[in-house]
């Protein structure tokens, strides 16, 4: 039998290198800095992950009267620092020995992890699926959000429902910042302003959520029969158009808020009082 006369069978090619498509060897022909956006996104998210992991496990320096770090509010274990009038709800009792932040952070983490904007951000930034538009991804196969675990992204609206009481509690914490370190009401410090900015951004991010937009009115077929929900849907829609900016702004503000409390609690700075 003659051998060596038949050309070797080509490797199974797929995607932009599929044999039916234009024969172009390059994975992409983009000439702009397409890698900058996913790289910046990944770096930003990574910085927050490192910072929040350190702070969540630190279990220290999270309360400096009258400020409580948003990472530790509400404090659900008995090992929390007593906070006068603050969010000490010891529903987990004394058996919880780890940082109490871990009990509460699961909710905002789940909300942001399943958020439609953050999904885009980490699919592009971390998983390169795709790294950028018209830049071939490095994966041999792709099933998207059709299977476990990514099918769980469909639970986003439940995390939205859970994010509402968390934002409510952070609002309560912000109200508590109108006290001084002796718990007397009617005072403001620099921390109060930081907490105010943070809570506005937290609410704006939470209410601009795509699931909120759907629940408020997007699921309706006849807006004309529901004028109030239609108007609310319009408002949420305007916020929703800024969802990415609000996601980043609130992520940064919540970290800054926590860092400010850390600086106060560790004694690095004192809170400048306004009145």
């Amino acid at each position: 039998m003659a051998t060596g006369t038949r050309p070797p069978r080509p490797r199974q090619l797929t995607g932009v290198h599929d044999t039916s498509r234009a024969a172009i060897a390059a994975r992409h022909l983009r000439t702009d800095r397409w890698w900058l956006a996913p790289a910046t996104t990944a770096a930003g998210l990574l910085a927050f992950i490192v910072y929040s992991t350190w702070r969540a496990f630190a279990n220290a320096d999270y309360y400096a009267a009258p400020y409580v770090s948003p990472f530790y509010s509400p404090c659900l274990a008995e090992n929390c620092v007593p906070m006068k009038g603050g969010p000490n709800w010891e529903i987990f009792g004394s058996w919880w020995g780890l940082s109490p932040a871990l009990l509460i952070l699961i909710f905002p983490l789940g909300f942001r992890l399943t958020c439609y904007y953050y999904r885009k951000a980490y699919y592009r930034g971390f998983w390169a699926s795709p790294p950028a538009c018209a830049v071939a991804e490095p994966h041999g196969s792709y099933t998207g959000e059709t299977r476990f675990p990514l099918i769980l992204q469909n639970a986003h609206r439940y995390f939205f429902y859970l994010a509402l009481p968390v934002a409510g509690i952070l609002t309560y914490d912000t109200v508590l910042t109108f006290r001084d370190s002796t718990y007397a009401w009617g005072h403001m410090g620099l921390g109060t302003l930081i907490f105010l900015v943070n809570i506005v951004l937290i609410w704006a991010y939470t209410l601009s959520c795509h699931s909120c937009r759907h629940v408020i009115g997007g699921r309706l077929r006849h807006f004309s029969k529901h004028p109030v929900r239609y108007r609310l849907w319009g408002w949420v829609g305007r916020l929703n158009a800024r969802h990415m900016q609000l996601a980043w702004a609130s992520l940064i503000s919540v970290a800054l808020c926590d860092f400010y409390v850390y600086l106060l609690a560790s004694g690095a700075i004192t809170d400048p009082r306004i009145f």
């Binding site: 795709p130 998207g144 986003h156 309706l220 929703n240």
Partner: protein
């Protein structure tokens, strides 16, 4: 009027193979990439295959990839490039190539046929349909689509995975499902067709990971991801993953 010579690399070939070929071609003020391709046909490459029609960004024929980005050639101004750079033009890389800049986009027509059409409401004859503007605003955004298929081309689900073409309709046709599901008079549900459920089960909505490339390349500026795909995903959740909505629909039976 100023004139200069621009450097182009244009893919020439067919299904059996091809390559990027270099051309130097004259450019005048106010021209778009399609003008330059036409000048090439007139002066240097008479057999260069290119599909085009309106030259006004409304027919969706001249889709190609310019410097690696899916775009309409007629809507890409030469003034957006520096005079020094070499401009690369290739056919759409998600579809089978026919020749030069022309691809076989029949995948999209096959997918269009898979979406069940508008179901007319019972008891209303054509001409008797009455709808409020607020009820059709959302759908009208999707009707701006010119079917250039740039969104289909850039979507990594099929661009990078040929095997997904059987299961995934692509952004353009998921948007069509959303448009019909939001249509105030569509009677599909009364006829037993649940578009929310079929969006996921028949048209592959779950493959979409909302990375927004479809929105980025849409020449009509349609917010495909935010206004069609994500709302459709939320509607699928209503049907398949949210027991509260299911319970509510069983109790109230109210039509929204």
């Amino acid at each position: 009027m100023t004139t200069y010579d621009a450097r182009f690399r244009i893919w020439r070939g067919d299904a059996d193979g091809g390559e990027l070929r270099d051309f130097t071609v004259e450019v005048h003020d106010g021209e778009v990439v399609l003008d330059i391709v036409h000048r090439l046909q007139a002066t240097q490459a008479a057999d260069l295959a290119v599909r085009w029609n309106c030259k006004a960004g409304k027919c969706g024929s001249c889709s190609a990839e310019i410097n690696g980005r899916p775009r309409l050639m007629c809507m890409t101004r030469m003034s957006t490039f520096s005079r020094e750079e070499t401009i690369t033009v290739t056919p759409l890389r998600a579809f089978p190539v026919v020749r030069d800049l022309v691809t076989d986009v029949s995948f999209n027509y096959a997918k269009a046929r898979e979406v069940p059409a508008f179901v007319p409401p019972q008891g209303l004859a054509p001409g008797e349909y009455r709808m409020q503007q607020v009820d059709v605003d959302r759908s009208q955004e999707f009707r701006k689509c010119i079917e250039c298929f740039l969104c289909q081309d850039t979507c990594h689900v099929v661009r990078d995975h040929e095997e997904n073409k059987a299961a995934f309709a692509g952004p353009r046709f998921l948007m069509r499902v959303a448009e019909l599901d939001m249509h105030p008079l569509d009677a599909a549900e009364a006829e037993g067709l649940d578009r929310k459920r079929t969006a996921q089960e028949d048209h592959g909505l779950g493959y979409c990971n909302i990375t927004k490339c479809c929105t980025e390349v849409c020449p009509e500026g349609i917010k495909i991801t935010d206004n069609a795909l994500i709302p459709l995903k939320e509607r699928a959740v209503d049907r398949k993953y949210d027991p509260l909505v299911w319970l509510g629909s069983k109790i109230s039976r109210r039509r929204d």
